[in-house]
């Protein structure tokens, strides 16, 4: 059932496939890093991808079932408020996460 040779081949194939997806843009645009369009994307894409990653990381939240995403909303608001207040990423992230973990583990807003 668990054949180490099979697993090794799978790991190698996955390593190659993953690296390829990360390497390809560097190969394709090797000498075009200064192209205005790429500069434009380099300027705006991070903001867009970060926004999308927030939504992605919350995709498991069901807004139609109690508590209707209330814990995630509270955790997010705590994170953002802390960041507005102190602008210290570690404080904001740990504060928001600690608050969220406390709600999940004690069943608050269930």
């Amino acid at each position: 059932m668990s054949d180490p040779l099979y697993l090794s081949a799978v790991i190698l194939a996955m390593t190659g496939a993953t690296f390829l997806t990360r390497l390809l843009p560097f190969l394709l645009f090797r000498n075009r890093a200064e192209h205005p369009l790429l500069n434009y994307l380099g300027r705006y894409l991070p903001a867009a991808i970060m926004t999308i990653l927030v939504l992605y990381s919350l995709q498991g939240v069901d807004l139609f079932v109690p508590p209707f995403g209330a814990r995630e909303l509270v955790g997010a608001l705590v994170t953002l408020a802390l960041h507005r207040w102190r602008a210290n990423p570690l404080l904001s992230i740990f504060g928001g996460t600690a608050c969220y973990m406390a709600m999940i583990q004690t069943g608050t807003l269930a």
Binding site: M1, S2, P4, Y6, L7, A9, V10, I11, L12, A13, M14, A17, T18, F19, T21, R22, L24, P25, F26, F29, R32, A33, E34, L37, L38, N39, L41, G42, Y44, L45, P46, A47, A48, I49, M50, T51, I52, L53, V54, L55, S57, L58, Q59, E72, G75, A76, L80, H83, R84, P89, L90, I93, G96, T97, Y100, M101, A102, M103, I104, Q105
Partner: protein
């Protein structure tokens, strides 16, 4: 090493996301019946969270190598866009550059585009430190989960919210940098649309849609400047 401290500070939130997620992977992986060190090896070589979780199911079903390779390619195709926007940041060559590209995960990309080295001339070393630290958190998590997952009694429920919080903070920092509403609103709309239409390929769909919007906006602006 004065570089390590800011890199650890910047990457610590990723540790709080990667370690528990890696543990979750390790626990699932251990059920397949392979020795624990294969979980570490996957973290070390494959180093792609979503793909590794997907692989557990495919390995259990004894899926073909080609099928697994193609699924990995499709799942990770969003990385194409990450490289696109860090081309000019990775100004180095050889092994250093290869490792930076190899380790370009969602979270590493996020930190690299939002934080910078204390000394501008050591930017590449700072990127390398961030990349290596993030990977070490992930390998640590995978290993812990496979070795001791079943015996662990720490309640990590909710800890992965650290990644949501990290992305939120980075959105705020990007906002402070750009002071323009367009990229955020466009991305949020694309994200919601992708979630409701193609939930399985949410990231790829949302990022592609927003790139289309950006291309349109770029060309409109270029026309105005003529």
């Amino acid at each position: 090493m004065p570089l390590l401290t800011p890199a650890v500070r910047a990457s610590l939130p990723v540790a709080f996301g990667y370690v528990p997620l890696g543990i979750a992977f390790g626990i699932l992986f251990q059920d397949l019946g392979y020795p624990w060190y294969f979980a570490s090896l996957m973290g070390l070589l494959v180093y792609a969270g979503a793909a590794q979780f997907m692989a557990v199911g495919l390995l259990a079903a004894q899926a073909g190598i080609l099928e697994i390779a193609v699924s990995t390619l499709i799942l990770n195709s969003r990385h194409l866009f990450f490289g696109l926007s860090v081309l000019s940041r990775y100004r180095t060559r050889g092994l250093k550059k290869a490792y930076l590209i190899f380790g370009l995960t969602d979270e590493t990309y996020s930190l690299i585009t939002s934080t910078s080295a204390p000394e501008p001339d050591r930017q590449i070393d700072y990127y390398l430190a961030i990349t290596a630290l993030n990977q070490s958190y992930w390998v640590l998590g995978c290993t812990l989960g496979a070795l001791a997952g079943a015996a662990m009694t720490i309640d990590t429920r909710g800890m992965d919210f650290a990644l949501t919080a990290l992305f939120l903070v980075l959105v705020l920092e990007q906002w402070n940098r750009l002071q323009e509403i367009f990229p955020f609103v466009a991305a949020a709309l694309c994200g919601v649309l992708a979630l409701s239409l193609f939930k399985d390929q949410m990231l790829l769909t949302a990022i592609s849609l927003s790139i289309i919007l950006f291309l349109g906006r770029y060309h409109l602006r270029a026309d105005h400047h003529e």
